[in-house]
Every structure is written in structure tokens, then in C-alpha cells.
Symmetry: C2
Subunit: 444 residues, 2 copies
């Protein structure tokens, strides 16, 4: 993935004022909380969490609610071939693609009430605010629900925004199946959300994409901040490491002559951690081994085979390459020292994303106006990663308690939920005015 920065006009990114006539326009915290709460009606679990796997009956219900609610605010709804829903409110210049505010309404099987849902409903609150005030924006506005962001039922994650962006073909995406063999295409058909519009950024173009999401990390909570500007998404690399040693009896094989695959794996796990910690703080380097498969898993037989899965992240691609190179040198040395056969395969790479500077500045100006100054790089992937391949993209992070996510204990305070909508309104209006000035040739 790369990013597309705004190309059509020179821009002073510091210059994204909120137009004076919008000064009185405010979101409603009460309505925002009611909309968010309504969006959690289907798929609740007794522990306070959510289980709304993509395209199940609860997802069908929330989708129907979303369509009805946005149509009530004057939107025309388009559903594409991946079930992505675009609720478009006309603007002054309807030949321009809409500025989107999007996220997702599906959840993990033991998920929470904020991940994704908060992003879609802040968009709905922006919509309701404009609708109630009778405001006509410059470009159209689209509130977007991206299908199957979680990938929990149909791997991989972010499949439908990825298809929109051209990273996957629709044929591939349609054929993804859950563990019971049900395909996305059949499930879309079953719940009535297999749209006629092709799933692509050319068939359903956007002018820009905003997304608000809970941080899913503890940084805002630790800093006692409500919101952050998201500057981009970290570089991510995933690896499989296979080690082959020699099985042997733990009591009869001298320590000096062993080829212990699990000892080698342990040294690599420690080494990856040490290397990441030694990199400069600005690199935000992270190295994690969270998957280990050892064979034969017998207490008195030295492990003959081990597979590790390694997750490396860094703020920039250059930092990611440095981390990769250092890990490879260390792992090769450990394998040689322990007498192990060794392969390392990088099976997935997601280059670092830097969000469009105008979009970032719109978010920054809005969150700063609400007293929030923090700026973060996202460690997790989001639909915005795919939209940024084709359109200017910006994100806002909202604090969640202790960084807990993908868990029923996921929690964001009502105050922060309300503030999220206000921050999104400010960012969105700034970009809409930026487009006005750009295309009208005024004040740019």
C-alpha cells in the first residue's frame, strides 16, 4: 500500500479553518449516545460485549437499521457487490465524489461495543447534525459501513475495503468461506446485501475517507487524553520461522551435543524483543512472538521441530527494514550456534502508511480545538489503510480503557463517545471547505 496525497492544488496544510458560518454547528452528545446504543441492539452478549460476525442475522439487522436511519436523514443508499453500504447525502456539487466517514459494524466473536461501531455512529451523528440544521455541504457526504472488517468469520481482515481498493478481486472475496463452508457471496445474497454496484474505487469513488476508531492501545488512557490525531499506520511484517533440531532423550543426550529446537526458538524470541527495545524510540519498533508450535511436545524428548510466528512493526519502512535485517542476523547466528536447520519466511508485508497531510491537518485542527493534542501512529490495520491507497484519508483515535479491545470489557466513557462525534464533525467540515476553496479557487 502507498498513500495518495492531495494532488490537484497546492495547499498550506496549516490552513484548514472552520468556516465562520459553521461556528454554531454542534453535535448532540445525547443523540450520539442514543445512536451508538441503538447500533449495539443486535448481537449483544450477556457479559456486556458483542458477537456480531459479518453477514450473520444480527449483522443483517444492524445493516437494515443503518439503511433506514440514514435514509431518514435524506441519504440515498448504494450497496456494492461486497455489501459495503454507502449512505450518500447530497451536497452543493454532486458531480464530486462524496467525502466519506466510514468504519464497520461487524465485531469479533467476543468483541466489544466500540470497535468499528463507534466510527460508523460518529459518522451518523455528523449526518444527523447536518440534517437537523438543514446545512448543505459543498461535496456530498457518505457514511460508509465496510463489510467484514474483522475477518473473524471470513479471513482476511479488511477484505471488503481491500476489494474496493483493488487489493483483492471480487471473485476472490466472494469465495471466502466461514468454517461451515458458507461463502461471502451466498451470505450476502441470503441477507439481501449483495449489491449491483461493482465493489471498486472507480465504480464508487470517494473524495476522501475519514475514520474514527478506538485506539485499541493504552497510550491515550495512560496520558489521560480523549482523542488523538492518527498520522498513519505502522509498517507491519509477519514471518514464519521453522527450526529443525534433533529429537533425543532429555536424560541421555549430553547438553553439549544437543540440537534443541525449542531452546533455539526461546533464544530467538528473546533476541527479537531485545533488538526492538534497542532501536531509537522514534522508530516505535515492536517485535512479538505470540505463536509457537513445538514437536513432539513430550517432557522427556528434546524438541525436534519448532515453528514460531513473528510480528514486527515500525513507524517507517526504513525502520522496518532495519528491524528485519537485525532480526535475520541474530536468528541465523542462533540457529548456527544451536545446530539447527532454519528458515525464515516473510509471508505478509504492509508498508508504513502516512495519511494525507491535509486530512491529518483537518483532524489536528479539530481535535486541538477540543483540547486534545496527542498524535499517534496506528499499530493496527484499519479500513482506512486500504482507502488511503486511492483517496486522501485521515483517522481519529478515541481512548478506550486500558487499551482493552476485542474483548467484552472494551469501554469508552460516554463523554469520550460524545466528544468523538464533535471531533469528526470539525474535521469533516474543514475538509469539505478545503474542497470548496480548492475547486472554487477561493482562499487556497
Amino acid at each position: 500500500m502507498g498513500f495518495i496525497s492531495t494532488e490537484n492544488a497546492p495547499v498550506d496544510v496549516a490552513d484548514v479553518p472552520l468556516p465562520a458560518h459553521y461556528a454554531g454547528l454542534k453535535t448532540s452528545g445525547e443523540r450520539m449516545l442514543a445512536t451508538w446504543d441503538a447500533a449495539c441492539t443486535w448481537g449483544q452478549t450477556p457479559d456486556g460485549g458483542m458477537n456480531r460476525l459479518s453477514l450473520n442475522d444480527d449483522d443483517k439487522s444492524v445493516r437494515e437499521w443503518f439503511v433506514a436511519a440514514t435514509e431518514k436523514c435524506g441519504c440515498k443508499v448504494t450497496v456494492d457487490a461486497m455489501g459495503n453500504i454507502f449512505a450518500v447525502r447530497p451536497g452543493l456539487k454532486n458531480d464530486l465524489p462524496p467525502i466519506a466517514i466510514g468504519s464497520h459494524l461487524d465485531t469479533q466473536p467476543t468483541g466489544g461495543r466500540y470497535d468499528g461501531i463507534l466510527g460508523v455512529t460518529t459518522g451518523m451523528e455528523v449526518l444527523q447534525t447536518l440534517h437537523a440544521a438543514g446545512v448543505t455541504t459543498y461535496a456530498p457526504l457518505a457514511i460508509v459501513n465496510w463489510t467484514n472488517e474483522e475477518g473473524a468469520r471470513f479471513p482476511p481482515a479488511m477484505l471488503a475495503s481491500g476489494t474496493w481498493a483493488g487489493a483483492f478481486t471480487t471473485e476472490y472475496a466472494h469465495a471466502r468461506a466461514d468454517k461451515d463452508g458458507k461463502t461471502i457471496r451466498n451470505e450476502l445474497e441470503r441477507i439481501g446485501f449483495l449489491g449491483a454496484t461493482p465493489c471498486s474505487h472507480t465504480a464508487m469513488p470517494l473524495s476522501a475517507h475519514f475514520e474514527l476508531h478506538i485506539e485499541q492501545g493504552p497510550v491515550l488512557d495512560a496520558a489521560n487524553q480523549s482523542l488523538a490525531v492518527v498520522k498513519g499506520i505502522q509498517a507491519i511484517r509477519w514471518y514464519n520461522i521453522d527450526l529443525v533440531g534433533r529429537e533425543g532423550h532429555t536424560g541421555t543426550t549430553p547438553m553439549a551435543t544437543r540440537a534443541d529446537a525449542l531452546l533455539g526458538a526461546a533464544r530467538m524470541t528473546v533476541a527479537a524483543n531485545t533488538i526492538a527495545l534497542a532501536m531509537p524510540p522514534a522508530a516505535n519498533a515492536m517485535a512479538t512472538v505470540a505463536v509457537v508450535h513445538a514437536q513432539p511436545q513430550s517432557i522427556n524428548t528434546i524438541a525436534g521441530k519448532v515453528r514460531l510466528c513473528l510480528d514486527l512493526r515500525a513507524a517507517t519502512d526504513a525502520d522496518g527494514e532495519t528491524l528485519d535485517a537485525q532480526v535475520r542476523v541474530a536468528f541465523a547466528a542462533i540457529a548456527a550456534e544451536q545446530g539447527l536447520g532454519y528458515t525464515i519466511e516473510c509471508f505478509w508485508t504492509s508498508p508504513a502508511l502516512h495519511f494525507d497531510p491535509v486530512m491529518v491537518q483537518c483532524v489536528r485542527a479539530s481535535t486541538n480545538s477540543l483540547g486534545c493534542a496527542m498524535e499517534l501512529v496506528s499499530g493496527a490495520g484499519h479500513d482506512s489503510g486500504y482507502t488511503s491507497m486511492h483517496v486522501p484519508t485521515g483517522m481519529i483515535f478515541t481512548r478506550c480503557r486500558e487499551g482493552i479491545s476485542h474483548n467484552p470489557n472494551e469501554w469508552t466513557s460516554p463523554e469520550d463517545v460524545a466528544l468523538s462525534a464533535e471531533a469528526m464533525l470539525g474535521a469533516y467540515l474543514r475538509y469539505d471547505d478545503y474542497l470548496r476553496r480548492k475547486y472554487e479557487g477561493k482562499n487556497v
Copy 2:
């Protein structure tokens, strides 16, 4: 377990001569190889290995062959309640319990042709040598086939010698079941080896127990030696270690605030290895982590829970305690540093065994006479570990290629097979003469 040293008479352990009238008595390499080969008739696998799980039809066949072959050499066969077979050849003093040469005829499911089988058949070759020469020994001789040494079908290992020794009750042992729910008692009955004699060291007493076994380690092969005196069995301790950290997203959880259970486990695995390697060589300290269970095994979720299984061994109990203490200190420190909940449970301890000095000297004198000077401590458990709780016990190790065992590639040269019988004959005759001198009051 402890060991019983010879108590009835003072003894100069260096003084175990081979009586002059036995000087011409030799085992037959050809006959030994034929007997060993015949013992591998039942349960062969196409890859050259053996699959003769305890009490299956192939085990029944080899047992019937063993009974017939030993009866042909003038033995009276006793089968006890655990199916242990004692083929007793009378001596001069038949009020004395027999001197046993024992091991096992069952194998691992993917086992080899030497583990256990070599020990029983060297005993049979000693028997055939005495029978062919018409020699009457002082004490009776018993060739013993211990049931279910491997424990591969009916855990735990060494169950029947353990029952004989009183470590398990017969009721407990009879109730052990395989994965299909078949019990030892029913299978003994089915194959006709549920004997009337109680399984115990009082109902079926022995004067001593010799066992020859392949080393199952690479030391003899590396030293190019055929045989070794076994001085005892290492102290063994098995542990479960449970670590509890905090699950979190690998991309959004700062490295500094993690409680990564798998990182802690990796550091412990490395630390145990480092501690064992740092102990004095005489301690023969070994530390192995060969089992690891991590949760939730997702590449982008920090491991929240890990269980490790740890195997510690050392030449003496004191060395074992030192190893245990150092590991506990290191593990507690690592758990604290990584912010992990931590428990360690030692769920099985086998104290170090030191074989009876007269028995060891009989083995030493015999192997030395064959040009083999190596002395080892066994890293693996054997039936001799249990017999040593009640009677003087000694063991001989025979080299196996590269230390490979529990594997179809297990291999000992024909020359070493032949030499094994000769070494056992010499050790056995020395102890028989030692008993003669002890009870006759001559030359002791």
C-alpha cells in the same frame, strides 16, 4: 527410591574374581544373535523397527516363545499377577532367591529392535551357555521379562517392576487402561498371562538384579566404546510452570507496558539451560524445556497464558537440589521483571540411585576384562531403578548408533550384541560366586 546395598557380609568390592573353573565358559555370539533376532519376530514394522505394545497379540507371541525357550533350557516359569515372567534355572542352593537377569520385551509404537529386547536375550544367552555346558551355579538364575516397561500403551512406564517393588498396588496397576479403555488386567487375562503369584518382591524374591540395556544416548558411540558400567540413575524432577500475562494487540501495546507470557517463558527456557551448563561437569546437570503451550496462539495477540514443562536431571540429589534452587530463583526474577503471574509445581521426583557397589564391581570387572572402561550414570529410568529399592542391582550399557532410540533407526552392531552377552555372563558369574563365598564363608 533408595538403594539396598549388600548387608549380610563385609565385602571388599574390588574382590570379585571370576572363579577359575569358569575360565573356559564363553557365550556364543552366533547363538546370541539368533536368539535376539528370534525375539524380534513378532511386531516388526516395514521400516526395520518394532511396534510391540505391551500385552498385544505380538507381545503374547513373544512371551510364549520366551517361556518355551527358557523351559527348553531347564527353567521353571512363574508368571505373577502383572504378567512378569520369571524363568528360573535351579542352582546348588535353591533356598536362596534367584539372581535375576531381566529387562523387557515390549516396545514403543515406533520403537527399535534393541531397547529392552537386547537385555532379555543376553539373559537367555547366559542361560543357554550354562545349560549347554551343564554348569550348576550356586544360586538359582532367573531370566525376567518385566511387563509394560515402556508405558507406551499403559502409562506410567515401568509399571510392573514398580508394582513388584511396591511403588504401585496391583489394583492400581490392573486398572491402567489403554486409549481404547482396555485394562491391563483384562488384557493379561485375554493373552493368558495373568499369573497366580502375587506381584511383589516378597512373593517372588530375588537375590539381585542385573540388566543390560542400550545406552539410549550418544556417549559410548562418540567415545568408540562398546560397553559401560552403569553406576546409578540420575536424579530427575519434572515441573509444570504456569505463566499469566496480559493479552494485547501486538501493534498497539507499547513494548514497555507488556506482560508477555511467551517472552517470559522464552527467558525461562534460556535461563534453565544456562544454569545447567554453568554447573560443575561432575554434576551432569541437565535442564530441558520440551513442552510449551501458549494461548491464544494468534500472531497479533500477545500471549496471555503459557504452560512450560521442565525436566531437570543431575548425578546426585544434592546437585538436583542446587539446580532446582537456582532455577526457582531465576524464574521468579524473570516473572517479576516481565510482570507475569507465576507458579511452579514439581509434580514428579525420582531421587538419584546409586547401584549396589558389589554389583557395580561385578559389572566393572567383567567389562574391563573385555577392554571397556567407561562408567556412566543413566539418564533414563529402567526396571532396575525399581529393583534397586529391594535388591542389589547392577546395569551394563551397550552402545547404540548416535544414541538413537525409540526409533526404527535404533541400531547396535552384531559385534556389540555378541559382546553384551559375554559381559553379562562375566558379571553374573562373579556375583554368583560372591554369594557362594558369602554364604559358605569362604574367601570373603
